[in-house]
Subunit: 338 residues, 2 copies
């Protein structure tokens, strides 16, 4: 299978997910519900309908995992909805914390409603996520197990977000600290849907945990690759600048790796201490990171996590068709150029 | 029984609640856990232990309800912990929304850590609340029912908070709108502990709902009385100023009632439109509210809700001793001068 097959597999669940998400938020007239529909990409700022937004990768992973473990994907819809609502709750609170005014070319909730109501919108999406699993159909013990995994993932995500903000104020961050942070901030919500899908399908607990670990490894590979592409990607392919991460002084994986290298670290600290990082600084930093082996480190980390995902996949009680689909999804998420 | 007996009844559960709450947060070394212990009143800003804080009324209501329905209070501890953590989560997010720097003579989390990390601390307390019920001992179907009630109460609380913020920007608010707002903002977390205690004790669903409705009525009586005392209370008894609510332009129940009266409304709007409400304005407003029947309206509302609580109590399958204790608690919460 090609990389695009992974996208096609996840796309199978798209309509069912959109329908279930819309049901979970509902057509209520109150402003907080309208604000939630805006976040989900269904309405513009005046309440007018929009073509649906978002790739919905996390809920698709949940339904895919459930189907792979022999269930009807519909049996895992409550978990899929919960995961996607949590993802959106986290985006809304992140936007306040980072004072982001625009996301995907739309004003953020923070920009539209201000910090106070944006906090409420995020909290509201959190409650609706939990409600999807407290009110869903299906065996109560499976739903409770799914809730425990989801809530634990939320806690890890919040801890990651705390650390990410704390790192901004620190001059030096160890690579291991960075990896722990990012495993929480972005990895937890990629592992949880896979584990929850398996749980709601009735997979044995050990298999569900291994499936979740597969999601965590794929997420870690994705993140390392994403951080690599943020500096060494081809903008014609990624569609994103490859100087922004550095000129915005972001502490991505290659930067954190470089900060712990004597020469690259000195170059980075000197440039990041300036009010603005100039284009000439970016060129110098990229050269220093390359000399420090930071690019190679990211590539190796991505490859090692992809290999770990494949090792975990071998442990799962799946047929060859399912295994091939898991691999295609891993390639789509982690092994991309864009 | 006297009013103070209600306090004594709730006090029976204090030690068990403190122990369980401390276990739910734990002694973890990470800063987010330390921030949570600060919120709970167990540590000062340097991590030094404090004599325990907070009256813990909500979790005590939960254990009291469980015991009244024939259970060992320990069977409802998970619900009690969850409720108190949600209450604290809501305080932390409220403080950001209101830019409050001090609460109970201590710097708020917002003041100590800033808006971004305070959002995380609130979110973290929310996850720990849910975790108390996903990981607690006891029958899974009861815990799931308790989670559904808790999460629904959180949603109502958030909607109430949204409305409260929205009302600040409006010149006129109907009394009915105000009552709906306050039923969510403060009532939901007084109803939920009683219903959850009953659920975890295995009470029939209809009885649990009625018990929750008792809590909602007591909460409504409490709130009406509290708003009354904020203007007509004796500061020597309440320990609180009886001019602050007006000089801070708060829209409490008597003020909302007065705003809908032609004469008092004009007096209030004129004074609230000024940069600062002067002492002479306060005197004039209080007189206008009295003439408009706003004080009487609050007293009647408190009495009507107390009577409704008593009517609901008659419907509950309880013995006379339990019923007397319910009444003592209602009096302690709703029928006070302070």
């Amino acid at each position: 299978m090609s990389v695009s097959d992974g996208l096609a597999i996840l796309g199978r669940y798209r309509d069912a997910i959109e329908r279930a998400l819309r049901e979970a938020i509902g057509p209520g007239a109150s402003p907080i519900e309208a604000a939630a529909r805006y976040v989900m990409g269904w309405e513009d700022g005046e309440g007018q309908p929009l073509a649906t937004g978002g790739k919905r990768i996390r809920p698709a992973l949940c339904l895919f995992a459930a189907e792979s473990f022999g269930a009807n994907p519909a049996d895992a819809l409550a978990g899929a909805v919960a995961i996607e609502l949590v993802h959106n709750f986290s985006l809304v609170h992140d936007e306040i914390q980072d004072h982001d005014l625009v996301r995907h070319n739309r004003p953020t909730t923070f920009a539209r409603l201000g910090e106070a109501q944006a906090i409420n919108v995020g909290d509201f999406l959190y409650t609706r996520a939990i409600a999807a699993l407290t009110h869903g159909a299906g065996e109560v013990s499976r739903r409770m197990a799914a809730l425990a995994v989801l809530n634990n993932a939320i806690e890890r995500m919040i801890r990651g977000q705390w650390e990410d903000l704390a790192f901004e104020a620190r001059e030096r961050v160890e690579v291991a600290e960075y990896l722990t942070m990012v495993a929480g901030k972005t990895g937890a919500l990629l592992a949880a849907p896979v584990e929850i899908g398996a749980i709601l399908a009735g997979a044995p607990p050990a298999s569900a945990r291994t499936a979740g670990a597969w999601g965590a490894s794929v997420g870690a590979a994705f993140q390392a690759q994403d951080d690599y592409l943020g500096i060494w990607g081809n903008p014609d392919i990624t569609g994103k600048s490859n100087t922004n991460d550095i000129s915005r002084k972001k502490k991505t994986l290659p930067v954190v790796h470089g900060l712990n290298h004597p020469i690259a670290g000195a170059v980075l600290r000197a440039a990041y201490a300036k009010p603005a990082v100039e284009p000439a600084d970016v060129v110098q930093i990229v050269a220093a990171l390359e000399a420090a082996g930071s690019a190679e480190y990211c590539r190796e980390r991505a490859a090692a996590q992809a290999a770990e995902a494949d090792r975990l996949l071998q442990m799962l009680p799946l047929g060859e068709v399912q295994r091939a689909e898991f691999r295609a999804i891993a390639r789509y998420l982690a092994d991309r150029d864009a």
